[in-house]
Symmetry: D2
């Protein structure tokens, strides 16, 4: 941590800050610059987080040097982590494809999709049973009924199941029926839910919040990990910007950025990332080319009849083409699907 004093700070003010820091057992380095004095603070700044040094007399600004997260960062865990889910591994050489409808609507829809996806080489089936919808008047999901249908699809196809939790209750239900739980963008800073997910023993897909910086996203993962659950997969799904042509702006550069900052696997969701099915295939290619460990895409047997997110869902033909494209890009990067 570096404390920047005001240009007109007095010697007494500088000494005051020094004294406080020493009393808290921090090392202190004072540099008198041509225009300002800056004070380097040595020690774990996390212990200082609650002390508003900005308010001390003569202090202009406090500049944080260390990232606030520890467990999820590469600094103390340089090797990449792979997460095991059932027979699958995420974050290793093999790129994972998770696909399925936005919402589980009925047995026929889901099983048709699951069989098709299995055939195409996907290994995870996604489907929402509890849906976070911006309007209370929109379809909210089949809840436990939906989870049962997902479990049935697993039984038949062997696909692993991932579904979204929106509350402690739905998290418990998902733990009963699915293999992996998703925390959605709108709940990325629902710290209560993060802690609950941290106490469960399910692998967690943590989506990036609509307006979350990479640092906040990693802090959210730290919440889960600090409760003891180390099985976290990060998922870029688009951030909110001023552009209105796409539903969100998919931040492809967050993929290699997160790979640099954290040891956790990172996947991409181009369906929510763009909101337009025509962009899903080019953006899936882009995500894999940028280094993603997998993709999460919405596929529906008949998007025109989907109860939610139809405009961003791929039909079976488009998904077949997508798989072909990304298999070849994976190959270029020395990976496989």
């Amino acid at each position: 941590m570096v404390i920047v004093m005001k240009p007109q700070a007095t010697k007494e003010e500088i000494a005051g800050v020094e004294k406080l820091l020493q009393s808290l057992n921090f090392g202190v380095h004072i540099s008198e610059g041509s225009e300002r004095t800056i004070i380097g603070v040595i020690g774990d700044k996390r212990q200082l987080a609650e002390t508003p040094l900005e308010l001390m007399s003569g202090v202009d600004r406090v500049v944080h040097i260390l990232e606030p997260y520890k467990l999820v960062g590469r600094a103390f865990h340089p090797e990449s982590t792979t997460i095991k889910v059932g027979s699958q591994e995420i974050g290793g050489n093999r790129i994972v494809v998770m696909a399925g409808p936005c919402a589980v609507e009925n047995e026929h829809q889901l099983l048709t999709t699951a069989r098709f996806l299995k055939e195409q080489g996907a290994t995870f089936l996604r489907g929402g049973a509890y849906k976070p919808r911006s309007s209370p008047y929109s379809f909210q999901g089949l809840e436990e009924e939906g989870l049962k249908i997902l479990a049935q699809a697993r039984k038949e196809t062997g696909l692993l199941i991932v579904s979204e939790a929106v509350s402690p209750h739905s998290l418990e239900q998902i733990a009963k029926y699915a293999d992996m739980v998703q925390i959605g963008a709108r709940n990325m800073q629902n710290f209560n839910l993060l802690q609950e997910a941290g106490r469960s023993n399910m692998p967690v897909i943590l989506k990036r919040g609509l307006s979350a910086t990479i640092e906040e996203w990693l802090n959210a993962a730290e919440y889960i990990m600090s409760e003891g659950n180390y099985n976290i997969i990060l998922c870029e799904r688009g951030i909110r910007t001023f552009e209105t042509y796409t539903r969100n702006t998919m931040d492809v550069s967050s993929i290699p950025s997160v790979k640099e900052l954290s040891h956790l696997p990172v996947i991409a969701d181009p369906s929510h990332g763009t909101g337009r099915w025509k962009l899903v295939t080019p953006m899936s290619r882009a995500a894999i080319a940028a280094g993603a460990d997998g993709i999460l895409v919405e596929v529906h047997p008949n998007p025109k009849e989907a109860l939610s997110d139809g405009p961003q869902s791929l039909n079976f033909d488009s998904f077949t083409a997508l798989m072909k494209d990304i298999r070849r890009i994976a190959g270029i990067l020395g990976r496989e699907i």
Copy 2:
């Protein structure tokens, strides 16, 4: 709802859309333009929300004409609503001042603050017992212990109590001890919590999410109201933009905008809105001048020692000056404090 066909849409495609809409009992008006055909749809579009018309052959875009919320909008409820909380009324002629520390730290801190605020004319005491912090290593609040201290402050001063819920459990606890519950920015789209708040009978302060449009904010209020709780106060607290000098960008224009779109009261939180105590007074003046029904500000007897949000908290002297300023501005607008 208006459906915009592609320039090259065929007669068959147009007829297809028309047929579908009629089968769903919608009225249809077709306008053949110089470049494109547009189809006006008559009926309640909320019934069509689940049908992805964008995917029909020949359709370019679907333009929504009606706002998705109903209960919170002025269209069907033109008069402004006032919310009664204990002996106070929010949204009427009197502007409310809610103040207190970010977090309840101990009895001494809170009671000192409460007595001072009472003296100054504030009517609500705010204080966090459950704190949503972006890092798991930051102070998370005193929980029930904090609520008990708040209740004690009410007993002694008569101030009404408002505190933030971060989960169904904390909501229940707050209902036991406080007069009003706050849903914070990070939980604005925690729909589960909104529904729980809608089922409680406490007045709710609903803060705007960091990246929520005004429409999404009103939709979130609609969630609460659709469960039967009509006592909602909206609170602007800054949105996330590219500017880094302030913690958030306080969208003062959302105040008169919400007043136009909704009948609900709206207040402003300049402490979180700016993140800098020096900006709190000018931005409180601005909020009242723009038509806010109240302000929610962080006040601490000694901000330098606050366990959270010190840099944005006012000390007692600054708060005294603030009250003087806003009283006079309220007067100009024919209101009082």
Copy 3:
């Protein structure tokens, strides 16, 4: 400037950075922290701006401590500046009102408006002769013809004239006819135009760019000032955010922020800031309450027939009400109009 080394930086790498800095005559302070070494650099970092220290072996990040601007900052010019334009002064106790139509359309429109504004107590007449329009098919302004009409209005009413330059040529023309030139938001980083304005001897209103941080805005002012023109008035006019209800999000907090960072006067343009005439009066009140030195508003005798920006223009009745409101708010702050 502070250089943050990587956790695993070697002694040789640290010595390498130290040696380079010393060779450039900078003072160096090395602090070995618990996790990382940081290096404080003493001297004028502006001389280092071109040396990408981030690329040196072992360096993680470079943190800039000093603001990049000098002439416009308060650090070396603590007293507020007032700018004289004709008989008027901007930035002093008196709040200035600049008003007029978005575009000069014809003599009748402009003179009617000018006479009305004079009567109401405005001191500056604004009117666009060169219009930066996002589509080439929109009305582009009357050019020199428009300036002549403005000059005529000054002759008749005594109002001072401000008009926008969009190129070196229009800047020259405006210098012939007007009292003050405006650099618009879209040209805030048209550095060539800033330099030309810096070489002219006209007072300049510098609008904040749509996506400009406060620091970039002050840097743009520094461009003008570094060419010798010290007569600059900053103007907040809304920034681009994800919100679509308003045309832009007017950042009211930038007003007191700029007042703290710079000695220059700052005014606000609530017409462009919101894009909706109904919001112009509440946001004018908010701007004055937040400490603005003036406002710039669009007024049109008949907004329904305006050739540009009609939806955000006030008619005469609304402007009369606005003046009444802001006069009273000015009074509260010990200022006058």
Copy 4:
């Protein structure tokens, strides 16, 4: 265009709008909905652009159906355009690589780079002679001297030259020495410069503005084209968002979006798009995978000594690896480099 009336609009108000539109020779279709009346307007809305219908009595909102640009859109020009520059073609099957230093610094630096790039298969050499820098104290470029060095590099290597214009004067100079001119992000809405570029006969690379929507970007291209210059290449270079880890957020999805909306070629600049050299290669792969017609990257023989943008420049080794990667991705998409 569709006019949405207020819920409480009277018959007279509806008739008033109808009458006005008919007087302007527009076709009118009135749909009386369950809650509101909407009025479809038939005819070229561009003629109505100046009439603020929003202000008519009873009107709530005006919804624009047609995009405001014409020449650059695919609606009237469905086939993709290829632009010829010297012996090269942009937008065809071959993907172009434009590379070089941010700024031309001296003959040695530029010729070393040019020879290397030629060898690697790049076809365009980029180098700034006029630099738009956010601070007036930063290196501003060698100006004509720099252009002469670029011309010399072309003579020796046969690479085509692209350089940025920042003013009408620099545009003229570039026309003398280079093959293609670039309009930078900060000048994307410098309409005067766009018009000058439209009157020149040089191919133009038009970078997307920092806060420009895709529609505004295409409108800026329309400015150039409406002056008669049809040789435009669009370039995505990152937009401004709240994320601070990267310099900008590169909007990869704008590449396939623009390909859908416009017939013009589109390339990507991952150097400015990310601001970090480590991200340039993964983001170049992503851009090509998403369908870009080329990339524009900063390469420097020794980034540590670059006078500008060192942290985002590739050295020769990294560029060699990048070329290898994108050649293989191009192959997958049936293209070549």
